[in-house]
Amino acid sequence: MRLFSIPALVLASAPATHAQRFLPDDPLRVDRDDLPIEKPGVVELATAWDVVEHSFWHRPSGSAPPAVNVNTLGEVPDSSWFENRIGAREMSIEELVRGPNQVAGPAPGPWTITAGKSQGITPGFTIRDDRGDVYFLKFDPIPYPNLSTAADVIGTKFFHAIGYFVPENYIAYFRREQLVIAPDAKVPVRGAKKRKMMPADLDSILARVPHLPDGRVRCIASRLLPGEPLGPHKYWGTRRDDPNDAFPHEHRRDLRGYRVFSAWLNHDDSRSVNSQDLFVRDADGKGHVKHYLIDFSSALGSGSDAARQIAPQNPRAGNEYILELKPIVKTAFSFGLWERPWRKVKYETYTEVGRIEAEFFEPQVWRPEYPNPAFERMRLADAFWAARIVSRFSDEAVRALVGAGEFSDAEAERHLADTLIRRRDKIVAYYFRQLNPLAELRIEGDALAFANLGERAGLARVEAYEYEWHVLENRTGRLDPLPAAKGESVEPRLALPPGGHSYLMARIRTRGGETAWRKAVDVYIRKEGGVLNVVGIEREE
């Protein structure tokens, strides 16, 4: 199967003004999806309905089309959804650990509670600190100190480094005396109007959270996102009152690839309700929508139990949807003798880390809580894009990011970091074996140079690279083989054929190593102003 990096849907929907393969600004590095618009409507999703809707509707039928928001290199341009970070450049450990944070967390001094929390499974409330910054505070449950707060902060930093927009989440500590209830603070009451928040309400929340020996309380302080909340985004269709939202979400590579990242970090709660769109106003009152991922408190080994209380991940998490027919039928008709394989997994559990492991984990079959339309349409090229980003996290980076969870148990921290490193290696091993993992394609002197990421990861040894050179007539897309311009190279470096062609294409297959490495990678080179550059990459899937 062929993947065309040039977005198929874009070509299909664009006017037939040209048939040329590459346009002057290819490869596009930035998707300017920030045209000034009026504020769109606020979306509210019902979580229970979301489960039903995604379990029974929006499931793919047949193979999915290629992702649409990719440039001719198969990369995702920067946009209001995604910003290339560790996948595109080196990030220092300090930068990784800082993540999206702009300050050092809530300012010391009194924190004024402005509202009680109405949604989610963790207790919490909203505060305004002395600087006037607003934070949402959430807590761990008494039996599992640090579990969800660490997961939230670590998840935030990982997803930020990957390229998503996430809130500034801080681990913060405070004392009861620091809290002041604002006169107009209200708490939600089921089945009734919100009522004034009383000290007893605060005491009730704090009675359910762990206290440190010195009396302080640890929390996650999530800084108010800059913009006007528009509610979550769905993983299918588009926001129909946002003109900038032109690409169906299920066909966005950044949302399809989110599956690989979520599998890595066991973020089974990667669903719509844990996203937030914000309207960012420009000076003239118009603005654009920016898309965030929020709430990673149910990632890694943290989850919730059947009573919807924060607890170590349910063993089902990542292994089976909430509603999945096949295992139900198999268990029912085998009189319970067929047992779900994941039930037999032995976990090394730590109170602060919860339940996460790397032995049973298989990235290709990992599942979120319920079907995600974008995840289900992920193709190998989408996964390869994501796996390459995952591979960019060094052991040192993983350990540093896990350390941001501020665990009290060093052994628990080590276990989590080791587990994530092993899960990363499994992701790399699996997806780099599904197609020809050539990357870092560039012109060096008079040669096309590249790297085989699979060989670099130690998956197999390459014997040679087979290549064929073609001339591309960009205006028509016609390819003509260059006579006597095929052969093999032991090195990941192909000498450019002679001639002053404006466009060249090299079809490269890897010999030796994995079977899938025989799949072709077509590399397009453009000569512009006397300079040669790689302008397009197509991968056979």
Binding site: A14, L23, N71, R240, D241, N244, D245, A246, E324, R340
Partner: protein
């Protein structure tokens, strides 16, 4: 004149065109990298076309309703109430069919930890049930209290969820029941299905109940009170009334029903992991009840009953072997009799499921139940089951020729409870099917 107007129109149109072009140029000037012929321009065109058809997101009807509940804008349908009065639809007793009614529930009145509860129900078969309790009732949070609807079968403290057990309960209770189609086939193990009759079982209980949770796994409950009973003709026209088909000798208490003083003590030991949805553990209950005849002294008796249940995981949490044995013995005082309407029965959705409700009754009852339960998913459980039991006038006759049945069940569960179950069973008299909103045991 016309030419001048045309000229003005043309000038105006030209001005508008220039303004539009200027605006467009200004827009383009802001983004020189989006010139026509570029990929950026192509993507921008995709967006500009969308300006013409902007539609805000509109949740569907179902989603709106679900969202309303989730945002706590409206209470759950189970929480709907008016000043503490909750409408309910349920059954009252075996054979009552659907009943409608209202429960009144005010927990922790004025932060005193005193509770008030009452209920009124009337079924389509004319069954009636009224009760009222006040005091410190067994309940968890705002949930309805666990109270006995039949006087002796509920071990209140043990049925509360672990971690929410009330250390002490003490309440007064009054209850009235009017069951006009109660089945009677005769007493003893040899009663015949074709002898089915019905009678009106009318009773009133006035009780004081106290209990203490001595440890997380052990509790004691005591109750004392006054019981009034009345037996009248049954109202199911398909069958003769009990008075027509049986004599007082065959059905003691048929002609006259005395009042009783009731004294009862219960000890309850519970090591089940989840009382209403157990996967492992065991429980045992022992109950001694004495009913003192306040009239003829012919019907006083003492009941000793024991109930033992065990739950064994079979190599996995998804497979459970559930076992139950129940033994009850009524011993009349002074050579008297145990009123037939007060005798323990077998048959129905909780005991011998291959037989209809109240199919067998006598002074001694034994019941064994075994279920192999397997979870198809956490919310769906299936079960293969077998029941065996017998009634008899003497303990020595209790353990031979047991009635037996077998069947299959489907249960829908929450984490803590059985929300709904269908059990289909076959005994020697044919098939029985039950749909219930509670667990078997």
């Amino acid at each position: 004149m016309i030419r001048r107007d045309m000229s003005r129109l043309a000038s105006g149109a030209l001005a508008l065109l220039i303004m539009a072009l200027a605006a467009a140029a200004q827009e383009t000037a802001e983004r020189p990298d989006e010139d026509p012929g570029t990929r950026a321009h192509e993507w921008r065109q995709l967006r500009e076309r969308r300006f013409a058809k902007l539609v805000p997101y509109e949740a569907g009807l179902v989603e709106k309703q679900v969202l309303g509940f989730e945002k706590a804008e409206r209470p759950s349908i189970l929480d709907l109430n008016l000043l503490g009065f909750y409408p309910r639809i349920q059954s009252i007793a075996h054979g009552s069919r659907t009943a409608g009614g209202v429960r009144f529930w005010k927990p922790d009145i004025g932060s005193t930890r005193l509770d008030a509860h009452g209920s009124v129900f009337y079924s389509i078969y004319g069954y009636e049930f009224y009760d009222v309790q006040f005091g410190r009732l067994p309940h968890s949070g705002k949930s309805f209290p666990l109270r006995s609807t039949q006087g002796v079968e509920v071990y209140e403290l043990g049925n509360l969820a672990p971690g929410h057990r009330t250390a002490l309960i003490l309440y007064g209770s009054a209850r009235y029941q009017h069951y006009p189609r109660t089945r009677f086939y005769g007493t003893g193990p040899d009663s015949q299905a074709e002898d089915q009759t019905t009678f009106l079982d009318q009773r009133a209980y006035y009780e004081l109940v106290g209990g203490v949770q001595l440890s997380p796994h052990f509790s004691l409950t005591a109750r004392g009170g006054y019981v009034q009973a009345f037996v009248g003709p049954g109202e199911d026209e398909r069958f003769p009334t009990t008075q027509e088909a049986f004599t007082d000798a065959q059905a003691p208490g048929l002609e006259a029903q005395p009042d009783f003083l009731l004294v009862s003590g219960q000890a309850f030991w519970d090591r089940r992991d989840k009382p209403a949805n157990p996967k492992r553990g065991a429980m045992a209950a022992l109950q001694v009840t004495h009913l003192e005849d306040r009239g003829s002294e012919a019907f006083g008796f003492t009941r000793i009953a024991g109930d033992v249940r065990g739950f064994v995981p079979l190599g996995s949490v998804q497979r459970t072997l559930a076992l139950r044995s129940y033994l009850s013995s009524d011993d009349p005082e002074n050579g008297g009799s145990v009123p037939f309407y007060a005798q323990e029965t077998l048959g129905g959705s909780h005991t011998l499921r291959g037989f209809p409700s109240d199919r067998f009754r006598d002074t001694k009852v034994v019941l064994f139940q075994a279920e192999y339960r397997w979870e198809a998913s956490p919310a769906i459980e299936l079960a293969l089951f077998a029941d065996a039991g017998r009634v008899a006038p003497r303990v020595s006759e209790l353990f031979s020729d047991l009635e037996a049945d077998g069947g299959i069940g489907l249960r829908l569960k929450t984490n803590l409870n059985t929300a709904f179950r269908i059990d289909v069973a076959r005994g020697r008299e044919g098939w029985q099917a039950f749909a219930r909103f509670n667990s078997v045991f």
